[in-house]
């Protein structure tokens, strides 16, 4: 595909759709990709296919760009990992965190902590913290993304990933507690 001859109208349409759908598409991909580490590549493939499609055939027949993109995403998620991915994982019943502990951690998450702004500014440290989340098991990164970036409630995250709520909570809170000790945040 020769980007030097892209129709400006197509490009404008693509930019608009991209801005409007990126959150929904990335949320879908994170929920359905086998590995969080592949999510970015999958999202790229989704939009690359979409751009090629509208360049070749236009977009007049596309009623809902988001639905169209999600359809592509379905294909890409399955293609990006060998074999057919079973979405349901084995449920692991964990009981590390009582209701009281959960409430405490949630309260902490809402409390202002000035040093966090400095941490965010420190790109190296911030990347380390991100990598630490990714180094956990496959689902932790997904849980963090869906809950914090996509603003999904924990029960919604559990549904999306085929996990029990207790499992989601444990993975999330355990990682937060671990990082508190490791990075002092």
């Amino acid at each position: 595909m020769n980007s030097a001859v892209v129709n400006p109208d197509i490009e404008r349409y693509f930019d608009t759709v991209y801005a409007e759908t990126f959150d929904a598409v990335s949320r879908f991909v994170v929920s359905h990709a086998a590995r969080f580490q592949d999510a970015e590549d999958i999202v790229q493939n989704v939009y690359t296919r979409f751009f090629k499609r509208i360049s070749d055939k236009g977009y007049d027949d596309i009623d809902s760009a988001e639905a169209f993109l999600i359809n592509i995403a379905k294909f890409e998620c399955r293609s990006f990992f060998s074999g057919f991915m079973k979405q349901k994982e084995k449920a692991i019943l964990l009981s590390d965190f009582s209701e009281e502990d959960s409430a405490r951690i949630e309260a902490e998450l809402s409390r202002d902590q000035k040093p966090l702004e400095d941490v965010m500014s420190d790109k190296i440290l911030a990347k380390q913290i991100f990598d630490d989340i990714m180094s956990s098991d496959e689902t932790v990164g997904k849980i963090f993304y869906l809950h914090f970036v996509c603003d999904m409630k924990l029960d919604e995250v559990a549904d999306a990933l085929g996990l029990k709520l207790s499992t989601v909570k444990t993975k999330l809170y355990r990682t937060i507690e671990k990082q508190k000790k490791k990075f002092g945040i």
Partner: protein, 768 residues
């Protein structure tokens, strides 16, 4: 900033580089896929054996009983007859079919298996491994050595008749239901030294069991031969390699209607076709052995007739039409390369720039619809011609990503928008099973092969199910049954046959071959043919039956099997067979021949006999309703009538044709009395009255008549055979040539009677 916002910003910043993604998308850059290819190989067999053997060793150590479940010694298999063993085994399996207790069992296979095949059977109902304690071979020997068992699976050359394994009652019961397994019996310690697998052939021949069931498939012809006479040969003990000549179109039709696109073409669309997989070809050239009527060998005795009998001679000026001008049209269709009828009056034409459907009637041809594309390939035709699936390329430089559904009923061509599934890849093949409405696309994109499953209804509406399977190794479509699609996955010299559920993607291995067999599907996507490769020296052609998941062996090696559009019937070397319940049964059904010769039979009116320089030659169909109603017969017939009988018959045919074709005036029968005289000259009084009534022949006034129920006959197509004669009466059969079916001349047979009237032979009844 609270921690919630911190993590939100952190994950947003580092999860996705949104700007990079957008920029790459506009540049058309795809992310490189990080996919582990499907691993297949003989090492899998060794690994399974190793696991199994390892488990055996552990079992032996753990229970100090050599891993043998103790059973009453008086139940030793070696102490019983095969019949007793059969009955006991059935009873035991029923008792223990829900038991999870592990026991040693002796598995007798229904026929000799290779180690890989045996492994596939034994592990089919477990988590992929099962302890193997002994192997029994076709030469009557056995081994219980751990090292030897491992070596057998590694070498994969032995012929195995049975195996001793350790499994639960549940698994044993499931194994017993496998069509590759004849018997599963509990074993004693003594049996490891003394027992052998039962003699399957002996038990069957003694009537203790039958492995042949009445076929349940509705397409099976009405009168198949008894299953006791199947084509299945005895197993070749040296068969470790399989490969056959690739199924191709016959020489009669130079245009392969349905091929699988080669990998070269996918990678470089400008290369010419080099099909790696083709569906069974579209036409046959065969010589069926069986006839549906007695041959003429019974009818060669020359009758003795009264010397004074002659035949009538028409007066001068009357020339009765004894020949029939054959229907022949030659319309021109621009760019036509090949054609055949898919309905009585609807013709499919493949052109160099696409394809189209046309109606043909009385020589005039009208285009209904057409599609512009390059290299149209037919992947499916329904048995009644109502539907077709055709793929193509948009232009010569593009990849194959278009798929159309052609309906002869609604006379429409529907674009199925396959490019939405194929995307940047290319279609390598398409399979459609009309019974389950399952449509499977085989797609290749870059270095990966995918299956894409859909439902296609009779109106051409398609709905997506899933992409249930993919592999870095080449995938070849085989067939489907219900929601299961069967494919061959080839990695180097090893080919594994896999069953894949399109709903959940579950796969299981059901067979394996080495030495690169050629595997093709039939149009109906109900069977696959597995043939030894071109350079194979041994092996036989097998037909895969998904209903039983049997690989049914034939007697053939280098021949080609033609299914046509038939679901279950095929032709090879002039013989016709039906695949039923895991067996191959000879058939002589005209219906089966029609399905295999679909290009001649989908229309009862017309058939295309040639396409040359854009002109399509259309003639009458040999599978006409009249021919089929009259019942076609095959044979070699010789005339044995007297000259007078022959002349009488010729005259009768002439009168018949004059009426049937409306050519009385042309023949010189310009007045009613002349017509009546001609009828009465060649037909007895009774027959003449019948014809006059049937054809409404006026006996007064102006010439007036119609064809009635008469059908025009070409005398050159007739063979008159007198079966019996006494005095002034003769009874015989006239065989009228219908055309070529299955490579042999087909006739319709009509009873004729001759009576002597006024010193002349006359037909005693109209020719019907």
């Amino acid at each position: 900033m609270n921690k919630h916002d911190f993590y939100k910003e952190l994950m947003s910043e580092y999860s996705f580089d949104a700007e990079k993604i957008k920029a790459n998308a506009k540049r058309g850059k795809f992310a490189r896929q990080k996919i582990a290819p499907l691993t297949i190989g003989i090492t899998a067999a060794v690994a399974a054996c190793t696991v199994a053997v390892g488990t055996l060793a552990m079992t032996m150590i753990d229970n100090n009983n050599n891993g043998v479940s103790l059973v009453d010694d008086s139940s030793a298999l070696s102490a019983k007859s095969d019949t007793e063993r059969l009955k006991d085994a059935m009873a035991r399996l029923e008792e223990e079919k829900e038991s999870s207790e592990l026991k040693d069992v002796l598995v007798t296979f229904a026929y000799t298996l290779s180690p890989t095949e045996a492994q596939n059977v034994l592990t089919a109902y477990t988590d992929g491994s099962v302890p193997v304690k002994a192997l029994f071979f076709a030469d009557g020997t056995r081994t219980v050595s751990e090292a030897d068992i491992a070596a057998v699976f590694s070498a994969n050359t032995a012929q195995i008749t049975g195996a001793a394994i350790n499994c639960s009652g549940i698994v044993a019961a499931e194994l017993a239901e496998d069509s590759r397994v004849y018997l599963v019996e509990n074993m004693t310690e003594e049996d490891f030294e003394n027992a052998l697998p039962v003699d399957v052939e002996s038990l069957i021949n003694n009537g203790e069991d039958t492995t042949v069931d009445v076929p349940e498939i509705s397409d099976v012809p009405e009168a198949p031969l008894e299953p006791a006479d199947p084509v299945i040969p005895s197993v070749d003990p040296d068969d470790t390699t399989i490969g056959t000549a690739e199924v191709t179109d016959p020489e009669e039709n130079e245009d392969p209607e349905s091929i699988e696109v080669s990998e070269d073409e996918i990678n470089d669309p400008t290369t010419s076709d080099d099909p790696e997989e083709s569906t069974t070809p579209a036409d046959t050239s065969t010589t069926p052995e069986k006839t549906t009527q007695p041959s003429s060998t019974e009818d060669t005795e020359q009758p003795v007739e009264p010397t004074e009998l002659t035949a009538a001679v028409m007066p001068e000026g009357i020339t009765l039409p004894t020949s029939v001008e054959a229907v022949k049209y030659e319309p021109m269709v621009r760019n036509a390369e090949s054609a055949f009828f898919i309905d009585d009056y609807v013709m499919y034409v493949k052109k160099s720039d696409g394809f189209g459907i046309y109606t043909v009637s009385a020589g005039s041809i009208n285009e209904i619809d057409s599609v512009e594309c390059v290299d149209a390939v037919v992947h499916w035709i329904s048995t009644d011609g109502d539907g077709m699936l055709i793929s193509g390329k948009t232009d010569k430089d593009s990849l194959r990503n278009k798929l159309w559904y052609v309906s002869s009923v609604s006379q429409t061509i529907t674009d199925l928008n396959a490019e939405d599934s194929v995307m940047d890849g290319a279609l390598t093949n398409v399979g459609y099973n009309e019974d389950s409405k399952l449509l499977v696309m085989s797609i290749k994109e870059e270095d990966m092969y995918y299956l894409s499953a859909h439902i296609l209804d009779d109106n051409g509406n398609i709905s997506y199910i899933s992409d249930p399977f993919q592999s870095a190794s080449k995938i070849t479509l085989m067939c489907a049954k219900g929601n299961t699609v069967y494919v061959a996955v080839t990695d180097g010299a090893l080919t594994q046959i896999m069953a894949c559920d399109v709903n959940n993607g579950d796969t299981r291995i059901i067979g394996a071959y080495d030495n690169n067999p050629t595997i093709t599907k039939n149009y109906a996507f109900t069977h696959a043919v597995i043939s030894p490769s071109d350079n194979a020296l041994t092996g036989v052609i097998e037909v895969f039956d998904p209903i039983t998941e049997n690989f049914v062996r034939t007697d053939y090696f280098g021949e080609t099997l033609y299914f046509g559009v038939s679901r279950h019937c095929f032709e090879v070397n002039g013989r016709f067979y039906t695949v039923a319940n895991g067996f191959i049964i000879p058939t002589d059904s005209i219906a089966a021949m029609a399905e295999i010769e679909y290009k001649k039979s989908l229309s009862s009116v017309y058939t295309v006999t040639d396409v040359r320089r854009e002109y399509i030659t259309i003639c009458s169909s040999v599978y006409s309703r009249a021919n089929l109603a009259a019942e076609l017969v095959f044979g070699v017939y010789s005339e044995n009538c007297t000259e007078a009988q022959k002349q009488a018959f010729i005259g009768a045919v002439g009168v018949n044709n004059a009426l049937a074709l409306g050519k009385c005036r042309e023949a010189g029968l310009t007045k009613p009395e002349k017509l009546v005289s001609a009828i009465e000259a060649y037909y007895s009084a009774t027959a003449a009255n019948a014809i006059i009534t049937d054809c409404n022949v006026s006996i007064l006034g102006a010439l007036s008549y119609n064809g009635g129920s008469l059908r025009a006959i070409d005398i050159d197509d007739c063979v008159l055979v007198i079966n019996e004669q006494s005095g002034n009466e003769a009874i015989g059969t006239v065989y009228i040539k219908a055309g070529i079916i299955g490579g042999k001349t087909a006739y319709t047979a009509h009873k004729v009677t001759f009576v002597a009237e006024d010193g002349m032979w006359k037909l005693g009844k109209p020719i019907t």
